[in-house]
């Protein structure tokens, strides 16, 4: 059986940065498994710019950002396999993990890994998951599928477009379809706010006079073979359509940008605990799941807003996996459980063992609604560990707090640490 020290599942931004993180921390035997025919993941179809402002201090397009990491991985001589679909993960002997991988060039193979980094990313919420009533004609796509058609295959999915959901990919596709000659009539958003970045609303909608209809949703789809129209209604504060507010819009395409779901079928096979809020695995300060030697990073862990943070988190996961392989991570230490409440929806990590943390620990989270001038407060019992006022916080943007080791080591062992928003 093929034995490897570290297997990384996914060759997108998370997998690539994790590989570099592990290599720089001294792991020589690394294998990246990527199901597509090239490395880079979803960045390859994100041809718009705005990537890398934090990492490279310049605005890059998705493929450019990916290529910088791909070049590094290739220069470092890290082994990777494309067209490699991982179909199974199970705990093996002596703390190893058995990775079952399949591909047309090498058939079906079991690989025994000393450690595994999950970097499978996420997928889009589909029509089936949204329960939109109406017919089921052709012409309904997730925004990311349309993005792949247009930017990779060079094919247009339609000419008269309605977009449901104002996630970033939907906003980006509103501009993209417009530039390619389609008429984008409107973007409907169920929530009273957009889940997308403000810059995308400004540059992708406002620049092209595409209306953003907040508190609106699709209540009917018409068309037998091809979609012919959608009916859009205003919704009340409980997201219920308001009778009498319906309006029918003719279209030949409906794009859905209604949220991303971490792709964790493999994680589930391992029996790792999943956080119901993020849809990603529950991880420690080392980004290790509750299965020994299995780490997670990037959008499979929790959906990120910026790829820069994915790269940063993934490099850390790679470094931690190296520490684990060297026996430098302890499993028996007392952990602080991180509690998310009052507007903080979740935290990554979910626990911190100060014995395993570095001098600084980044805790990432998202908030449940829009805040202005609210404070992110971190407490342990009566002690305030951090209290930082933020001018603006929005559900679409990830927040972070940095905890210092010198502070955490002084806390009572295993005491809960609470994260909350104080208005």
């Amino acid at each position: 059986m093929n034995k490897r020290k570290l297997v990384i599942i996914g060759g997108g931004p998370a997998g690539l940065a994790a590989a570099m993180g592990a290599r720089e921390a001294g792991v020589s035997d690394i294998l990246i498994l990527e199901r597509d025919d090239r490395l880079g993941g979803i960045l390859n179809q994100c041809i718009h710019n705005g990537f890398g402002l934090h990492t490279f201090k310049e605005e890059l397009t998705g493929p450019e950002y990916a290529s910088r990491f791909i070049d590094r991985v290739k220069e470092a001589g890290i082994e990777y396999r494309t067209g490699a679909m991982v179909t199974g993960l199970k705990p093996g002997d002596n703390g190893t993990v058995t990775v079952t991988v399949m591909g047309r060039r090498f058939g079906l193979e079991d690989i025994t890994a000393g450690a595994v980094i999950l970097a499978m990313g996420c997928r889009e919420r589909s029509r089936g998951a949204l329960n939109i009533p109406g017919y089921r004609p052709a012409g309904i796509y997730t925004a990311g599928t349309a993005q792949r058609f247009v930017n990779i295959e060079g094919r247009m999915p339609g000419k008269d477009v309605i977009i449901l959901g104002s996630g970033d990919i939907g906003l980006i596709m509103a501009r993209r379809m417009t530039l390619e000659g389609a008429k984008v009539h409107l973007v409907a958003e169920l929530n009273p706010y957009s889940g997308g970045l403000k810059r995308n609303i400004a540059q992708c909608l406002n620049d092209f006079d595409i209306p953003l209809m907040l508190s609106h949703t699709v209540v009917d789809i018409k068309g037998r073979k091809r979609i012919e129209s959608v009916t859009i209604a205003e919704v009340d504060e409980k997201s219920k359509p308001i009778p009498g507010s319906e309006k029918e819009y003719p279209c030949d395409t409906l794009l859905l940008s209604c949220g991303l779901i971490p792709e964790n079928e493999l994680t589930g096979m391992l029996g790792a605990s999943i956080n119901p809020v993020t849809g990603g695995p529950v991880v420690s300060e080392s980004l290790m799941t509750d299965i020994q030697g299995v780490f997670a990073c990037g959008n499979v862990l929790h959906v990120h807003d910026l790829v820069d943070y994915v790269s940063e988190e993934a490099a850390q996961a790679g470094k931690n996996a190296a520490a684990y392989l060297n026996g430098a991570l302890r499993a028996e230490g007392k952990k602080h459980t991180l509690i998310a409440k009052n507007g903080v929806r979740y935290t990554v990590p979910a626990s911190i063992d100060p014995g395993n943390m570095e001098d600084k620990q980044i805790v990432r989270f998202r908030v449940g609604k829009n805040y202005r001038g609210a404070t992110v407060k971190v407490t342990c019992g009566d002690e305030v560990l951090s209290s930082v006022k933020r001018p603006v916080m929005a559900p679409g943007e990830m927040e972070q707090v940095i905890l210092k080791k010198e502070v955490l080591t002084k806390l009572p062992e295993g005491a809960d640490i609470t994260f909350e928003i104080v208005e």
Binding site: N44, I47, H48, E64, N151, D207, V392, E397
Partner: protein, 125 residues
Amino acid sequence: MSEIKEFVCIRCPLGCNVKAEVSEGEIVSITGNTCPRGAEYVTAELTAPMRTVTSIVTVDGGVRPVVSVKTASDIPKGEIMNCVKAIKESKVTAPITIGQVIVADVCGTGVDVIATDNCDAVQEG
């Protein structure tokens, strides 16, 4: 008669809400920005808005049918559609490498359209 114009600054992901007071075509004051780039952005939006344009170009003989491109720097906002048209009308042959000029001096803006991805040529046989 002065007028308040509102903008969301797009120079960074923070997206500050910036207000500009404009009187007789002159900017009187700019508020709400957290850094100087906010003021720069609003001034540019009011006087000469600029954008980076990204699109795709058809590739002959490549492993993929299209390759992604961008303007090497910002071009006037009013030239976006002309720029996209110029890109659409051009055709390139594989191999293509990142940074390769696809359309030189697009629409007389002095800015080149460059490839943002690699595209290998299809191997014969």
